[in-house]
């Protein structure tokens, strides 16, 4: 018994032995279970972004976000406290156990690009959902549809400002003028770099926005309302 416990302990990186980590894990699991239990049906053409296309792929999306450089910064600072802030403390207590990416659990973070490919495949579904909600009644423009469209756009901005995309579209090249379509490739790279500067913002904003829309649709179902902005 003690032996197995020691083996498990040796396998887990020291970061995983903190109460912060377990509370984080607990909250994530709670949210996932809640989404599974309290499923919501399509309501007046609105499809909840969490169920688009299905909640079962949510773990893959979660992996994309967990290996994202923007969220890595946040959870390394606030969940694992490595480091909590940039002040150089004299005691260094919080940093002592740090092993970083040298532990195999954290090396998964390097697979970010594959999760990114997967997320790009998922993106069209969000546009499709927005289309479905507009198609529910073309003579009305409803707030929910606008929000779903905004959500799809923000998610696209988040995915396309990813650092792995940056590497893919030119970050791994030293010389643009040596390639075909050099100027346009450089222009795309510059545009992506500009978006990339705001990657952290897109990451958090898209996360908050998707939760907001989920709550909004749940509220519409609970109170049977719909907000119509315009009759055409």
């Amino acid at each position: 018994m003690k032996k197995t416990r020691n083996i498990i302990k040796a396998m887990l990186p020291p970061e995983f032995r903190s109460i912060r980590f377990f509370s984080f894990l607990f909250l994530m699991a709670l949210a996932f279970v809640a989404l599974l239990i309290f499923r919501i049906p399509k309501y007046k053409g609105y499809i909840d972004p969490f169920y688009s296309p299905t909640i079962l792929i949510l773990p893959a999306i979660a992996l994309f976000r967990l290996t994202c450089y923007a969220f890595r910064k946040s959870y390394n600072r606030h969940v694992f406290t490595h480091p909590m802030a940039c002040i150089v403390s004299s005691s260094n207590d919080l940093n002592k156990n740090y092993t970083g990416e040298s532990s195999y659990v954290f090396r998964i973070e390097n697979l970010h690009r594959y999760f990114m490919y997967f997320s790009v495949l998922i993106l069209p579904f969000f546009y499709y959902d927005a289309y479905v909600s507009f198609a529910y009644n073309f003579s009305l423009i409803r707030l929910g549809s606008i929000l779903l469209l905004a959500d799809a756009i923000i998610l696209s901005l988040y995915v396309f400002s990813c650092h792995s995309v940056r590497n893919l579209i030119g970050g791994n090249k030293d010389c643009f003028s040596c390639m075909k379509f050099s100027i346009s490739r450089k222009k795309i790279f510059d545009l992506q770099s500009f978006l990339n500067e705001h990657h952290e913002f897109f990451a958090w904003f898209s996360l908050a926005f998707i939760i907001f829309i989920d709550l909004f649709i749940r509220a519409m179902i609970a109170f049977h309302f719909d907000i119509i902005l315009l009759h055409i």
């Binding site: 600072r77 040298s102 003028s177």
Partner: protein, 234 residues
């Protein structure tokens, strides 16, 4: 108006408090120089340009690695604590010994001009006349702004824990500036991988403290990590 400033003394191994009269626009370095001139002329501190250009005056001001000549006193509330950078061996008071960084610089594969620009005709090796476009060099140029103040090395918690196993953000930026140069033929991915770039967990403290405002993490470390992943994932 007067402010209290505490300066580390290596002889007594503690902070010593001084009270300094304040004028508008004073920086921490001015206060240290005032202490030097009026209270204790034996304090050792380095500075040169007083303009944030030479990178000599780095220290930890209230725990945050900063240039003394660029930190205004009115940007700090309460007492001011000035201690030397802890990542380097202390020489005396605020002076540290960053010799190690030169060793790392020497170990890094140096610029090697690519075959593309060398023409070998009739036994003579000469440089071809090639055009270097601006849009090819802007990326590498950002890292040339580095003033070698070593503040990023001091702020990096990965160095604090793993010591010399990680070369540090400043050197990754240097490697990136060479790697992204279109005329350079070498590849420093293996060098960086062997020298602990994986210890960095992209928490961006180096970017936060860099006085030259280089986006070290976004533009050097992460692109290099991604390039390493191109070659060898996990």
């Amino acid at each position: 108006m007067e402010r209290k400033i505490k300066i580390f003394s290596s002889k007594q191994e503690r902070l010593i408090e001084y009270t300094v009269p304040i004028e508008h626009g004073m920086v921490v370095l001015d206060a240290v120089i005032y202490v030097l001139e009026h209270f204790d002329s034996s304090i050792s501190a380095r500075w040169n340009c007083k303009a944030g250009r030479c990178g000599s005056c780095g220290a930890e001001i209230n725990g945050i690695p900063s240039l003394m000549c660029k930190t205004r006193l009115d940007s700090i509330n309460g007492d001011i604590e000035v201690v030397p950078m802890k990542v380097f061996p202390n020489v005396k008071d605020l002076v540290v010994d960053p010799t190690d960084t030169w060793r790392i610089k020497k170990a890094m594969p140096n610029f090697k001009i690519s075959e593309m620009v060398i023409s070998k005709s009739s036994g003579i090796t000469a440089t071809k006349n090639i055009t270097l476009y601006e849009y090819d060099v802007t990326r590498a140029q950002e890292f040339k702004k580095c003033i070698e103040c070593f503040l990023c090395l001091d702020s990096c918690h990965a160095i604090r824990v793993h010591k010399s196993a990680y070369i540090g953000p400043m050197h990754v930026a240097k490697a990136a500036s060479l790697d992204m140069n279109p005329l350079d033929s070498l590849d420093r991915r293996d060098f960086l991988d062997k020298n602990g770039i994986r210890f960095c967990n992209v928490t961006k403290c180096c970017t936060e403290v860099c006085p030259a405002k280089i986006k070290i993490t976004d533009n050097a470390i992460i692109p290099e990590k991604e390039r390493i992943n191109d070659k060898k994932i996990i």
